[in-house]
Symmetry: C2
């Protein structure tokens, strides 16, 4: 038999976090109590107003296809949200509703990348973005982010890594796994650098809204030429509904619509109707309370991890992750993760899931579980590591 | 500015049906009553048991991510359905739940196609499949289906078109837009032909279940090496929920799971819980009644179109389309479609949406609207064409 599997598949690594999660579930089935700090999904259920809107949509038979680019009312609601939260006017035509941020990333890359075109992205970074580029036969280039720079992607990185075959740059703010955010000045410099080179800047704002000290800023306030990925999953608490969006420059509206028609036809209709309730004041109030809870968890977890001997060079400003240097305990973070799970029932994600920039020194903690469980996790770590 | 849009986009044509639909909506906004026979979406709402299951899922907070390959209970339910309806045992591990059949096609092609690999498919055929192959840098090759052969894809086509760079063959049964189905002998010959060449056969069974005279047969009864695409959209009446599945051979289970993780993370959770009710006897009863209604519509529309002078060489056996030769009236089916819309308010899809095999002689009628409206449409056509 000839080799049927496409080459691209061989270059895609499975997520180690998934294997650890499977092992954690095995242990739970045996009666062990596991503290989950490996999961990139908040423990909070979807806010009730969104659930109710979803139920109302189903009751009234809103189950037919929407246009490929999304329900017009939802595209307008997103535009209004940009107006209210960021004071900017974005035409709803530029907003394409997608099946999750995954759909938005796939769409942006399909619109931009020719085979062998490079797209620069952060290492460590969200692994799917790297593999989506590869699936489309583009060439993802990971740029090592450094602790001394608080893992911030800067225009200097572009200066160093841009080449004649570079087509685009993907940055995330807040970033997974580091929680780094891009301030306005940094974003401005990135935009200028990419635009002056004729490239495209894709800003992944999947964790937008989940920012703690500083103001959450969208790149759309600074340029109408950027591609912005966003999601209803994280801040809005709609993970399993699979809903996100992509904002494109004017000259990509038709392009994005054509690609959406073919790649996924349209996003889920009940989810789109439910999401109409995501921007209501009563929902935002719930979401803001959750943001405070995340901040409290971060503050607790960060200080405790530092006391335990994990090295976290800069306070993670957003998302719900702490990317910690565990080299005081192990320079094999994969084995260390397995040990933590087997010996004290604490599940974390090894650095290997995020790239090849010194991953063996790092693990990612997600504070997507309750304070009570975080406390229990810290106590277990304390006992084990001291 | 350098050309930012990827080359692939230039090769993707927008769907003419979408432009006609937009024009139809304009006319409706002006007060015109339009008979829609262009839409590939049944007028029936999702069966009530599925809606209720969806509502129950939302009420109980089933809004978190499922595993990438789908909810285990749903994969099992699909396997049980194959057992009950086709008498075959398919391991749930081989079933990957996807965001619609679109997700299943994308997954299958991403797993199989290297750049420039050809994939053979029918012309006329569902246009997204052609473009998905192109998006992945594969090379879709349309094979002209002929009226004298009732538009059936056969092993002879493979014999004629297979080349050293052919990797896969995609066939659909029932097929869009022709309604042709593949009988067991034809399917068997196709399987033998493709497997003997070391290629992969992908069978699109999106319209499986919507078969009128004959038995609906799945290719899975004949081989465990085929890839089978299916959908909850058409027979099960769940279009807007965006849910489908892909059955893969054993050695593609890990491959498909890895690709699903990256391409879409997982399908919609509320939709997956809702779909658990799709196989219940009370749902199947509703669906079977609808199938009878479709058959009645097909019989009516087909006989009337033939009397009017449209040429339909073979009775369409499945799906909900009639692909009719309109050359008695026009050899420019695009202009003819526009005329029908403007002059008598009947919307149909021009052949151009389905490929380049003599498309100017053909239009597609969808019987996705009520008998009453079909009758009205026929009366309008009668007046206009006689």
């Amino acid at each position: 038999m000839i080799e049927q599997v496409a080459y691209r598949v061989g270059e895609i690594k499975p997520f180690y976090a998934m294997a650890l999660l499977a092992r954690a579930k095995e242990l739970e089935a045996q009666g062990r109590r596991i503290i989950h700090m490996e999961i990139g999904e908040p423990d909070f259920v979807t806010p009730q107003p969104i659930i109710e809107a979803g139920i109302a949509a189903l009751r009234s038979g809103q189950v037919y296809y929407t246009p490929s680019s999304g329900l017009p009312a939802l595209r307008e609601a997103i535009a209004n949200w940009y107006s209210m939260s960021a004071g900017i006017q974005i035409s709803p035509d530029r907003i394409i509703v997608t099946p999750g941020a995954s759909g938005a990333s796939l769409l942006a890359m399909a619109a931009l990348l020719n085979p062998r075109d490079t797209i620069l992205m952060a290492d460590p970074g969200y692994p799917c973005n790297r593999y989506l580029a590869r699936i489309l036969e583009g060439n993802p280039v990971g740029i090592p982010m450094t602790a001394k720079n608080a893992y911030q992607f800067t225009a200097d990185h572009i200066e160093s890594y841009w080449s004649s075959i570079t087509k685009a740059v993907l940055v995330a703010s807040p970033a997974n796994p580091t929680g780094a955010i891009l301030c306005q000045a940094t974003l401005d410099a990135l935009i200028n650098s990419v635009e002056s080179r004729g490239g495209a800047l894709v800003v992944d704002e999947t964790y937008g809204g989940l920012v703690y000290e500083s103001e959450s800023i969208t790149a759309l306030t600074l340029s109408d030429q950027v591609f912005v990925i966003n999601s209803f999953s994280k801040y809005f608490g709609m993970t399993g509904w699979r809903l996100g969006w992509l904002v494109v420059p004017d000259n990509f509206i038709q392009v994005a619509d054509k690609l959406a028609q073919n790649l996924f036809l349209a996003a889920s209709t009940p989810a789109q109707y439910a999401a109409l309730a995501a921007f209501r004041p009563e929902t935002i109030q719930i979401l803001e309370e959750r943001r405070m809870a995340f901040q409290q968890r971060r503050d607790f977890l960060l200080s405790k991890l530092q006391v335990l001997g994990f090295y976290v060079p800069a306070i993670p400003q957003g998302a719900f992750y702490i990317y910690a240097d565990c080299s005081k305990f192990s320079v094999n973070s994969m084995a260390f993760s397995q040990n933590l799970l087997e010996n004290v029932g604490v599940a974390v994600t090894p650095g290997l899931d995020f790239g090849c920039n010194d991953p063996h020194r790092y693990i990612r903690f997600a504070y997507t579980t309750s304070m009570e469980r975080l406390q229990e996790g810290i106590e277990r770590l304390q006992t084990y590591l001291s």
